[in-house]
């Protein structure tokens, strides 16, 4: 029976230059379907604990899913690796065409291991796989690299995933860019690539993708697209405003992180909201490959110092990290800052947090102009923000300190900086203040990458008001339900913004059309639980436990000073109760470590339990 799986893993060892093709085991497929599922499994099985994330033993596991390559709206690839920023589980997703090209070349999964001696790029041309010299590409930015490789290979249809200078210089939060400007952003996959001397991966795949029931899929699509059009988020709000549409709600409810997490609302936030962006700088709407939501916007700055800057963005998270945290409400400056990050190839969320930490230290005289290469790193200093971002991406001067990410930078700066630094397990949070969103307080605390908003995405329902954001009760169970579901969405791979139209029953409905076998909702749930507990097991193996599932102290002691969540903190006792309840629901012990029986129930095997 035809299936949308290619059925193969492509493995490249950069140390030996060996290329191997392995079958994608049916057992693995049934256990975890694809995407984040396969990536997490392989990462756990193939990596020993305690390795250096920037050493040759780390791996980059790029996975596609059953929907990749088909007309079922899907979102790119997920790459799993050990994070150089956090030292724990790392996974990043990116939309666009790259993933589809990989599958059309005949592979569901690409594993990159080892380390090349000289800068190389990988060229996958269907069956023909080569490692090519990248010395003339080293030092080029993400846009130039894309163009140069396509030119060298003589085919502008080639899809290229590449790193910029930030990846080459091993900035701990360097990203991987594919297509025009789709980005596997957080946790530093670009640095892993850079540490392997791998500048880029270019793919040309000429195969066609089949599915089990193509007529059934067309029929499904007709109904699915109708549902998309009838659902507010996917028919109106995301297509019109994109993620910047969230600016109003977050600020009005006082949870928009401002002035390095000291406040919950940015003055004149309307200058950076969806309406302003649309009116002032949007040129057109853009969609990832196969997506009917087109949340992305192509923008161009029309006036001022940065006139002419072109960007795919800016997204909510960058508006918070470069705008809110630095107290800058000039959209043109934020766009420029975003473009700097994109060109250099680094995560704007971590970069913004790092600069804002430095601004907070400067404000409290922990840092002076002597430390910051003469830059006046005050809040709201637009020029300083842009210059600092450039310095970080190039490891220039003080940028070299911030390039390590918030946790390490705070340690290096010392003098109390560590008390100010905001991160969980080394990852800076997404743009929602937990004091005004108790579900977020839990979700970011237990997220598999650190303070990540993607694992459970509970922020969605709290900011909408579907659940009461100020209440603790019921959050653990709700979070678990979301995490399980989104873990399965991450196997297919479905974009988070299709969350309202991909309930369990829809996933169960479309799966057999793609791959020819069925899974009941209950079985899908187990797959979700399995992935979450496996990622947790990976982190436990790296030394994580309950002590790492907490926010910095000030979120429990310092109330938000004003706005829609004025006076709110995270109540420590309530938080501990939520942790207890969440661990229990997951079958983990009071230290947050998966119990042997739970792992066995999930089919994760005895050897796993013993490793802990």
């Amino acid at each position: 029976m035809p299936t949308s799986y290619a059925g193969r893993i492509l493995r490249i060892n950069l140390t030996t230059s060996k290329v191997t093709r392995e079958p994608l085991a049916g057992g693995l497929i049934k256990q975890c379907l694809g995407g984040k599922g396969i990536g997490t499994h392989l990462l756990f099985d193939e990596l020993k604990p305690g390795i250096d994330p920037l050493g040759p033993e780390n791996k980059l596991i790029f996975s596609t899913g059953p929907a990749t390559g088909t007309m079922m709206p899907h979102k790119g690839y997920i790459v799993c690796y050990k994070s150089p920023l956090t030292g724990i589980y790392g996974s990043s997703s990116s939309g666009g065409f790259f993933a589809d090209e990989l599958k059309r070349a005949g592979y569901d999964v690409l594993v990159v291991e080892g380390r090349a001696e000289k800068p190389l790029y990988l060229w996958i041309d269907d069956e023909n796989v080569q490692l090519k010299n990248a010395e003339n590409l080293w030092g080029r930015d993400t846009f130039e690299t894309n163009d140069l490789i396509k030119e060298e290979l003589g085919d502008e249809g080639v899809k290229v995933a590449r790193i910029g200078i930030a990846g080459e210089k091993l900035i701990a939060f360097a990203s991987i860019t594919n297509d025009y400007s789709r980005i596997a952003g957080r946790c530093g996959p670009g640095a892993v690539m850079g540490s392997k001397n791998l500048k880029a991966i270019a793919i040309r795949g000429t195969g066609a993708i089949e599915v089990a029931d193509i007529d059934g899929l067309i029929e499904f699509m007709q109904q699915f697209l109708k549902t998309v059009k009838e659902t507010p988020a996917t028919s109106t709000t995301y297509p019109l405003w994109g993620t910047p549409g969230g600016i109003n709600g977050a600020n009005l409810q006082g949870v928009f992180p401002t002035r390095y997490w000291h406040k919950g609302m940015l003055e004149d936030y309307e200058k950076i909201n969806g309406e302003t962006i649309r009116r002032q700088i949007v040129v057109k709407d853009k969609a990832c490959y196969t997506c009917p939501v087109n949340c992305s916007k192509m923008v161009r700055v029309k006036e001022g110092r940065y006139a002419g800057t072109v960007l795919e963005g800016p997204d909510y998270e960058t508006l918070y990290s470069l705008g809110g945290l630095a107290e800058i409400n000039d959209i043109n400056v934020i766009v420029k800052g975003n473009e700097v990050c994109d060109r250099l190839g680094m995560d704007s969320m971590t970069a913004g947090n790092a600069v804002a930490l430095a601004m907070d230290c400067y404000d409290k005289h922990i840092l002076t102009r002597k430390d910051t290469d003469g830059l006046e790193l005050t809040f709201s200093n637009k020029e300083a923000l842009i210059q600092m971002l450039e310095k970080i991406g190039n490891r220039d001067g003080f940028g070299n300190v911030l390039a390590e990410g918030t946790r390490k930078a705070a340690k290096i700066i010392g003098k109390g900086a560590e008390k100010l630094a905001v991160h969980i397990k080394g990852l800076e949070p997404a743009g929602y203040d937990p004091r005004g969103m108790k579900g977020v307080a839990l979700g970011f605390a237990v997220g598999d990458r650190g303070a990540c908003h993607m694992t459970g995405s509970i922020y969605t329902y709290e900011i909408r008001g579907s659940i009461d954001r100020l209440v603790y009760k019921g959050k653990p169970a709700f979070l678990k339900e979301l995490e399980d579901k989104f873990a399965v969405c991450d196997t297919m791979i479905f974009c988070r913004f299709l969350r309202d139209v991909t309930p369990w029953k829809t996933i169960a409905q479309v799966l057999p059309l793609l791959v020819g076998f069925q899974l009941k909702e209950a079985e899908l749930r187990v797959i979700g639980e399995r992935i979450v507990s496996l990622a947790r097991a990976f982190n436990v193996r790296e030394g994580m436990g309950r002590k790492d599932d907490y926010w910095p102290d000030r979120f429990y002691t310092d109330p938000l000073p004003d706005g829609g969540s004025k006076g709110q903190t995270i109540d420590r006792a309530e938080f501990d109760k939520m942790l207890d309840e969440y661990y229990e629901l997951r079958g983990w012990d009071e230290n947050g470590i998966p119990r042997k029986e739970s792992l066995q129930r999930l089919g994760l095997g005895d050897d796993l339990a013993e490793e802990e």
């Binding site: 993620t243 109003n248 709600g249």
Partner: protein
Amino acid sequence: MVTVKVFGNLRKIVGASECRIDIGGNYNTIGHLLFSFARQYGKQLKHELFDSECEIRPTYSVLVNGGNITSFLGLETKLKEDDVVAILPVVEGG
């Protein structure tokens, strides 16, 4: 008087980003406010904001002083002088 801030399409219909509305006596719930608001700005606003059962469309959130009315008493939530009401399209960033 309460301040009503509007966002998205509502701004086009209302012709402003915020306005002040009188609340008085027994007509001091969110429901009363919104119906009077709809009456003031006509059919287009009514249709934009309410469905055929006179419930707020799921595309919109209504906040009072930063708190969603779904955490209070919905349309029965009582208002007081100088409260700030916001009506905005439901989007959650990402």
